[in-house]
Every structure is written in C-alpha cells, then in structure tokens.
C-alpha cells in the first residue's frame, strides 16, 4: 500500500470552532488507489475532515499536502486542489435551474476551460454509465433522490479528480435507493479510484474499505483493515460503536 504514491495528506491538524476543538492533532494520508472509510459517532468530525481536505474549511494548526505540495491559504493553491479533489455531499447540491447535463458540464467548462464538445461527450458517457442517459435534459426536481445523487457523482467525476470524497452520500435516501448509489461507489472502487468515504452503512464499509478509520471526539481511535476493524475491533470505544449497529435477538419472558 505505501509503495503507491501518496495523494493527499492532512498532517497534525487542529480545527476549532470558537473554543471547541472539533479535530485535535489529526493526521491521515491517502495513497493512490486506496479506499479509506471513515466511521464514527455523529458529530465526531468526519465531515470536517473531508471539508478540510477540499479546502472548504480553514484550520488552526497543521497542514494539508497534495502530492507532497503544501496547500496554503492562497487562492490559487486551494483552487488547484479543489479541481483534483472531487466532493459529493449528503444533500446532492445540484444546481436547481440547470439541466442534468448542464450540472455536469459547468465546472469542466468554466473551471477547467475544456473543449465543449469533448466535455459533452464525456458527460453523456458518464451519465450512461450510471444509467441516466435519458435524464440529460431533465431538471434536478424531476429526479428521485437516488438519481440526483448519481448525477452528483457524475458531476464530480467529470472533473477527472484524483481523489473523491463522499460525505454520507446515502444518508438522505430512502432504503431502496441506497443500493443504486452504493453500487456506483463499488464500481468506482473496483476501477481503482482513490476515495475517502464517510458512511453509516457498515456492511458497505466492510465491503469497500481497504482501510477503516474510526474517529471519536475529534481524534483517531482506531485504524485497521476492514476485517481487522469490523471483526476484531481493538478498542473498547470501537466495540461499543459497532455494537450500536447490531441487535440482539429479543428474548421473550415466557421463553426464559
């Protein structure tokens, strides 16, 4: 794993809102082709990590490096990593007044200044890949949640990012739509895409992760491969956390 080149790294970062430290001396390095899954209780700082990796959130201490190059507060350097770091949000955040195709094409055209014809061709291919070709001229309101999220993924892919960040992309979806979105993520992982995924879908996490990061109260509690973490958690906190996703068989009074 460490033979592959490091793509993005956050190094000893501290993030505070007012007095509260949300992240405390947190480090994470993501290598090419790796799928890192971040899990942890609500409010432990998972979204904050992704937002820092994408330069959406200022930090008080530490640094972010992209392919070994320090990302400073200067606009140029932030814009450059944002182009290379794709982000997909829980609530899709599609542009409501733009068609699906326009949503996908906007950034490649305006940010990367690529050729319109080439961008359009690629956008159509990507939409076909997630089974949404015939929705290209629809508006976001005409799509289901699962479809919107697939468009949001395509929109991120159209930028040719070197790493993709997913923040609970199925949390707002009805159960029957979760699968169609997670299948897209699985196929991206199979393709060897570098990804950092925040999710509460534990069986999906186990299937997709090369490495699991368990976060609690703003610091790393435990780290390991998917089977290490899910089957043999080391820390008490991780055991407790995983326990919240399992249910014991109800024992009825009379069966005792």
């Amino acid at each position: 794993m460490s033979k592959k080149e490091e793509i993005i790294r956050v190094d000893h970062i501290t993030k505070r809102y007012d007095e509260n430290a949300v992240l405390d001396d947190f480090s994470l390095s993501v290598h090419e082709g790796e799928v890192v899954v971040i899990v942890g209780p609500s409010g432990c700082g998972k979204s904050t990590i992704l937002r820092i990796m994408n330069g959406l959130e200022p930090i008080q201490k530490g640094e972010v490096t992209y392919r070994g190059e320090k990302v400073d507060g200067k606009l140029g350097s932030i814009t450059r990593i944002r182009e290379k770091v794709g982000m997909v949000f829980q609530s899709y955040e599609l542009f409501p007044h733009k068609t699906i195709l326009q949503n996908v094409m906007l950034a490649p055209l305006l940010v990367q200044k690529r050729d319109r014809k080439e961008v359009k061709e690629e956008a159509l291919q990507l939409l076909a890949r997630v089974g949404l070709s015939e929705k290209k001229n629809a508006y976001p309101r005409q799509l289901s949640g699962g479809q919107k999220q697939r468009v949001a993924i395509v929109r991120a892919l159209a930028m040719h990012p070197e790493v993709l960040l997913f923040d609970e992309v199925t949390a707002a979806l009805d159960p029957e739509m979760v699968r169609e979105v997670l299948d897209v993520l699985l196929s991206l992982a199979k393709e060897g895409k570098t990804m950092v995924i925040v999710t509460h879908e534990m069986s999906f996490a186990k299937a997709v992760a090369d490495r699991v990061i368990f976060l609690d109260g703003g610091h790393l509690e435990e780290e390991g491969t998917a089977s290490e973490f899910f089957d043999h958690p080391k820390t008490e906190r991780a055991k407790q956390f995983l326990h919240t996703f399992t249910y014991d068989k109800v024992e009825r009074e009379e069966e005792r």
Binding site: E83, K98, A107, R155
Partner: protein, 221 residues
C-alpha cells in the same frame, strides 16, 4: 376638449411615463445590481465577508431609502439641473427616479441572491469555481426567478413614483392627472388617466409573473 386631443394627450402621457419608468429602472439596475451583489458577498455569511464595506453600503442604502420620494425630488433639484440642464420635465425626472430606484433595487437583489442555497454555492466552490464564476453562474442564474419578480416590483414602484413627480411638473400621466384633475377640476380626464396607470401596472405585473413562472425550473409541470 375634443376626444382626439384628449387621446393624443393620454397617448403622449403614457409614452412619457413608460420612457421615464423604463429608463430609470434600467439605470437603477446599472447601479443597484452591483450594489446588491456586493451586499450579498460582503455580508457575514457571504462568499467574501467584509464588515466595513457591508456596513457602509447598508447605511447609505437605508438613508436614501428613508427619504420620502417627494422630498428627494425637491432636495436634489439642483443636482438634477446640473445633470440634465433643467429641473422639470420627463428627462429631468429620470434623475430622482433613478436615485430612488437604485437602493430599492440593491435591497431586492440582495434578498434574491441570499435565497440561493448555501450548499449549492459550496458545491461550486468545491469544484474549484472562482468567486466571480460563482456570482455569475450560480448566484445570479439560480436566483433569476426571484430577481425577475424584483424587476416587476421595481417597475411598479417606479411607476408610482413617476406619477408623484407630476406634482412638480415631472411629465407623463401623473402630470396630466394633477394638472387636469387637481388644478382644473376636470375629474373625467383625471379618472381616465388614473385608469391608464392602473392598466399599465396590471400589464407589468402580469407580464412579470408570467415570465418568472416560465423560467422557474424548480417547480411546475
């Protein structure tokens, strides 16, 4: 007065009114749109917060907006004369109308742009879009329905102000209504003139709403 003359007078008056209202609203947007954008982006939760700039604009706009239009009309007469060479007539009235329109428009633009979902703006940032691209392609485009409703309201308000300008010989339908209705007690002419104003206002409102519904992609069908 013969019918033919009255018709001509009303037609000229309508034309003068439209001329004043359209030009003032247009000029009002030339000033008010950038101001509204500036207010939006410099506010605390905007894309480039700047307390000082926001506060200065905020105060200037509030002060201008609290001056009653008739007072403004009279207050700035010397300025109007400086700009257009005289202080009465349709062209002269455009000056105070624009000054009244700009802050109103800035406020409406601000409130329209602030309706744009923060998450969508953040998504655009996350894709590496610059502030300028976001203003043009996200803020203004996504707020267009609301901006257009704002244009309708601005036109309606300026139409009302333009009629008030009749008091000091501002030209247009308001001028006619006051000259005939108020000074000469020709109630008939006054009523017809007011009716034309009402119809103009209705057409404006109706066209504006129709258009904004048409370009609203969030709802419908």
């Amino acid at each position: 007065m013969e019918f033919k003359d009255m018709f001509k007078m009303l037609a000229d008056g309508t034309w003068d009114t439209l001329y004043m209202v359209l030009i003032s609203t247009l000029l009002g947007y030339v000033v008010g749109l950038p101001l509204g954008v500036l207010l939006t982006i410099t506010d605390v939760d905007g894309i480039s917060p700047n307390k000082v700039v926001y506060k200065i604009l905020d105060v200037i706009i509030n002060v201008t907006r609290s001056i009653p239009f008739l007072i403004l009309l009279i207050l700035i007469m010397p300025f109007t004369k400086l700009v257009v060479g005289k202080s009465y007539g349709t062209t002269a009235t455009i000056v105070p109308l624009t000054i009244a329109a700009a802050p109103l428009i800035a406020r409406m633009v601000e409130s329209s742009l602030k309706e744009v979902d923060k998450g969508v703006i953040e998504a655009a940032f996350s894709m590496g879009a610059s502030g300028f691209t976001i203003i043009r392609k996200v803020l203004v485009t996504e707020a267009r329905t609301s901006l257009l409703v704002g244009v309708t309201i601005a036109l309606g308000t300026i139409l009302g102000y333009s009629a008030m300008a009749g008091v000091i010989g501002g030209g247009g339908l308001g001028d006619i209504a006051i000259r005939y209705g108020y000074y000469r007690y020709e109630t008939g002419i006054m009523i017809v003139t007011v009716a034309v104003l009402v119809i103009l206002m209705q057409i404006l409102q109706w066209a504006g709403m129709l258009l904004s519904k048409k370009i609203d992609k969030r709802r419908g069908k």
